[in-house]
Amino acid sequence: MTEIIHDVPAGRVGVIRDSAQSTPAGLFRRIYDILTRSPIGTIGGAILLTWTLLAIFAPWVAPYSPTKIDPELIADPYPSAQHWLGVDHLGRDILSRLIWGARTVLTVAPTAVLGAVILGTFLGLLAGYRGGIVDAIIMRVGDTLLAFPKIILYLIIIAKFGASAFNIIAVITLSSAPIIARIVRGVTLDIKNRDYVAAARMRGESALFIMFVEILPNARGPLIVDFFLRLGYTTIAIGVLGFLGVGLPPPTPDWGGMVKEAYGMIFVWPHMTIIPSLAISSLVIGANFLATGLREASLDG
């Protein structure tokens, strides 16, 4: 679980503000432009969209119940006309488990990343805009959290509080927020001495207004790219936790957990581990390709 800590190049952040995207329609137009211009971004977006739709419509799309055990099917667990991707070691339909598993990961991962973005944005704005002791404390606490190797932070929390969706979300939020805070702080430091911020201060706007309305929009570009990159990493993290047996508790269909459960049987029934491994890889590739496309487009201006 490597982590990208990218600093925002100072000269570039100003560019994003003046274009036509201050309205929601403008933003969508721009996303549309980006997607049609970058083939990699388009592929990534399509993969992500497919999994999202499958996750949303899981109850109607999944051919079987993801938790229904049928011991008779284990005699011939391979893909067939009834079970397109075969069944697992307990006779559960793999396709149905994948579709419901998409729902799990696409609920937990975006929630965790969104939590980290909200917390990190707030702290980053505060640290950058206030400066001084507030800045020192926030960044110091963040550095301490970052000093923990991520996986060890998970293990400590899980040893203490047990594995649950909430704990996974909390841990990811805590360990990603300092990095996002760093990005937002960099932008804030660059922007806060511009004339229009000074003008807002002269008008007597509150600090909150200046931070969120005047400064924050400048961080939108880097934050959107970071969101999709982080979505990929978080998906990997959730998969890894499942694979290590410290993820979501068992009956929940979870891709990492599926790999773990069938891993011992890879010599007998390889499809039970290979198929969920392909699923999780495709989702992460989708998120990373989309992030690459967005970044290329935003650098081109």
């Binding site: 490597t2 000093a147 991520k150 060890i152 890894v240």
Partner: protein, 312 residues
């Protein structure tokens, strides 16, 4: 530079102090847990209380914390309640195995990423650049356990040319060096994917600089410009990132170690977490955090040595 190092070391000690206190507080605020764990679920409450008193766990947490740190500084981390041996013997042995795997992987990853990253970045948006970018992005996107499953499927299940487990014992039927092939491959794919992208983007950045264009227009050969003018500057930024990979290689190997039953540090931490073996978890966290901070320090020092413009 000396003053800087001293300042950083002090900073490190403070962070380490904060981290150790956090972990200690999280785990030891409820001392009944440890004794209950030792005695098992059928012990009576009075037995638990008795042992708690005997082990001195009823004293204030802050006193026990300083006692613990005092002993930890001399290398004594207490006993593991799960493995029933001193934590120090257990942990150094496992850490040695992990460092060996990390060192071999590192020796493969770094030259590979630098080579591919530089070759891709020197002609931005050329066909080789495109190919390498897609390749590295794919590698970084496939979780280690998934990559492990794919490689295992090909080389062990299908072709049968490599061992599927790496317990590092000679009696397992496979030569020791062969037991390293798959773990190193899995780590390399995942980590190189990320590093190649770093080196490439740094190289692209450097090749856009005016001085490169000047050097080319003066009639230098492309090769010469890349080797003599671009390379050194392009490797400054990735240098720190490369060093930071050491952190990942110390604790992040837990997945690979679990995949291949490799007796390493990460798996020890996982087992300790599952067994709620607090003494091992605490010691392991302290060691892992120390490694993180040391690599950061070396990263900063190396950064200054590489780039004479940076002074602190």
């Amino acid at each position: 530079m000396l003053r800087y190092s001293a300042k950083q070391l002090l900073n490190m000690a403070l962070t380490l102090f904060a981290v150790s206190f956090l972990v200690f507080a999280l785990n030891e605020l409820s001392p009944g847990d440890v004794t209950r764990k030792i005695l098992g679920p059928y012990a009576s409450q009075s037995q638990v209380d008795h042992l708690t008193r005997e082990m001195g766990l009823d004293r204030p947490a802050i006193v026990r914390y300083f006692e613990y740190m005092g002993r930890a500084l001399t290398g004594d981390f207490g006993d593991s309640i799960y493995y029933r041996q001193p934590v120090s013997t257990l942990i150094w042995d496992r850490l040695g195995n992990t460092l060996l795997l990390a060192a071999i992987s590192f020796a493969v990853i770094v030259p590979l990423s630098v080579l591919l990253g530089v070759l891709a970045g020197m002609r931005e948006r050329g066909w080789f650049d495109r190919a390498v970018s897609v390749f590295s992005s794919m590698c970084a996107s496939i979780p280690e356990f998934a990559m492990g499953v794919f490689l295992l499927g090909i080389f062990v299940v299908w072709l049968g040319v490599l061992p599927g487990t790496s317990p590092l014992r000679a009696d397992s039927g496979w030569a020791i060096w062969m037991q390293f092939v798959l773990p190193v491959l899995v780590v390399t794919f995942y980590d190189a994917g990320y590093l190649i992208a770093m080196v490439r983007s740094s190289m692209v950045e450097v090749m856009r600089q005016p001085y490169i264009r000047t050097a080319l227009l003066k009639g230098n050969s492309f090769r010469n410009v890349v080797a003599k003018h671009a390379l050194r500057n392009a490797l400054i930024t990735p240098f720190t990132v490369i060093l930071l990979q050491l952190n990942y290689l110390v604790s992040g190997l837990v997945v690979v170690e679990t995949l291949f039953a490799y007796p390493g540090f990460g798996r020890l931490m996982l087992e300790a977490a599952l067994a709620k073996d607090i003494a091992v978890l605490e010691a392991g966290t302290l060691i892992a955090v120390s490694v993180t901070m040391l690599t950061q320090l070396f990263g900063d020092l190396g950064y200054m040595a590489l780039d004479p413009r940076i002074r602190v």
